[in-house]
Subunit: 211 residues, 2 copies
DNA sequence: TTAAGCATTAAGGTGTGATTAAGTGGCGCA
DNA sequence: TGCGCCACTTAATCACACCTTAATGCTTAA
């Protein structure tokens, strides 16, 4: 806790620590943080319960949970509670700080250094993707494909579009490269029982969606 | 409420918030908003009551209600009160903003990104339809058929026209595909006790109409 | 009342996509 | 120069979602 605090402060962030549970939800609403980190266990209620309440009361900031356990159930519970991301103890500063930086970096246009969709983050400078506190390394084609998908969230991208933009073909071959690479991405991005993000639209192509 | 306001403003919309109930209906008539969002509960009267009054006094803008509950009764009540759409708390910005964008996007010709008819919206880039705050996913043929209907609102489309435009046949088979697909669409689009939109014109074909 | 038109339902076949494994070629390294 | 690894592609088989057909039930208009 203290370690994390000083790490964050050394990186130039304003940090507010709240240890008590009392009136927590209201306080947070006043503070309007850019990012909220909840560390389990949290007071009498679990951190996840607090998390749920925050979302119900309309909280829209990114919300990261730090857990003790690392079972599939833990992870699913976090996401259902409305967390954007989870992190598992022991707390390791470098990876964690990188994630914090990605979450706090201004989202608007201009020089975007990373792409975000749901709790999936693609860091363009390091070409590393993050999901659920986990770094995902990508090969070139995997990166290109994921980047293309993330640049057009929710949009259905046809095979032709994908072939043209990722592979640079302007004709349609008999190949199934796309299917294979979609599979590689799915294994890496949705491999740990995470929510499905890469959706097949039969007869058309693929789309990045949250439902 | 505040969260929503800042989200909308960040997306470039002019937002006016009214907290008091007094003279509300008249005020709104003066303002002539492009979109009205009512959040339950709303003053002494329910938001739905206000909604009803607005419609009775001739309001024609899109009207979205944000509810606490999510029962079938809630939803039906919203629509009967004249709301175009409803949304359920907790309010999560992205989905909501998407809907707002769809409602406010200029309707006229040119680059249409979505088709609208009554409270039914078809998003062309994601191939997803929306009705009553509910996303409706469509198969290819369903999408093609709905798109064709929505491109010709109120117009009666003959079986020949539909077969030609959706299935690409230029002859008339003995098949009842159209009936079957009309049914699929009706189940998805009018399945939740919504108002009927797809009408049969006996001996001719089908038409998208609000009455 | 009756026939034609449409609605509804369920079951089968087809094609598209998923999956798996084997092949190819480039690059670093000994 | 040759070996081996890794990224990428091809190919072959499997699975199932979607589309179609067909058979039955219901409505409407003459």
């Amino acid at each position: 806790m203290q370690a994390m605090r000083s790490d964050l402060e050394q990186s130039g962030y304003d940090v507010i620590c709240i240890n008590s549970n009392t009136e927590f939800v209201n306080k947070v609403a006043d503070i309007k943080p850019d990012l909220l980190i909840i560390e389990e266990p949290w007071g009498k209620d679990s951190g996840l319960e607090t998390c749920k309440q925050l979302r119900l009361s309309g909280a829209v900031f990114p919300l990261v949970v730090i857990m003790n356990g690392d079972t599939v159930d833990d992870r699913v519970a976090c996401l259902q509670a409305g967390a954007d991301d989870y992190f598992v103890k022991p707390y390791r500063s470098e990876t964690f700080l990188r994630l914090v930086r990605l979450y706090l970096q201004p989202t608007q246009a201009g020089q975007t250094e990373s792409l975000k969709f749901d709790n999936l983050i693609l860091d363009l400078s390091s070409r590393i993707a993050y999901r659920g506190g986990q770094a995902i390394s990508l090969t070139m084609k995997e990166y290109d494909l994921l980047k293309y998908l993330m640049e057009h969230p929710r949009e259905v991208l046809t095979r032709e579009q994908i072939l043209e933009n990722v592979w640079g073909f302007d004709f349609l071959g008999e190949s199934n490269v796309i299917e294979v690479y979609i599979r590689y991405l799915r294994l890496k991005v949705e491999g740990n029982g995470e929510k499905k993000l890469i959706h097949t639209v039969r007869g058309v192509g693929y789309a990045l969606r949250d439902a």
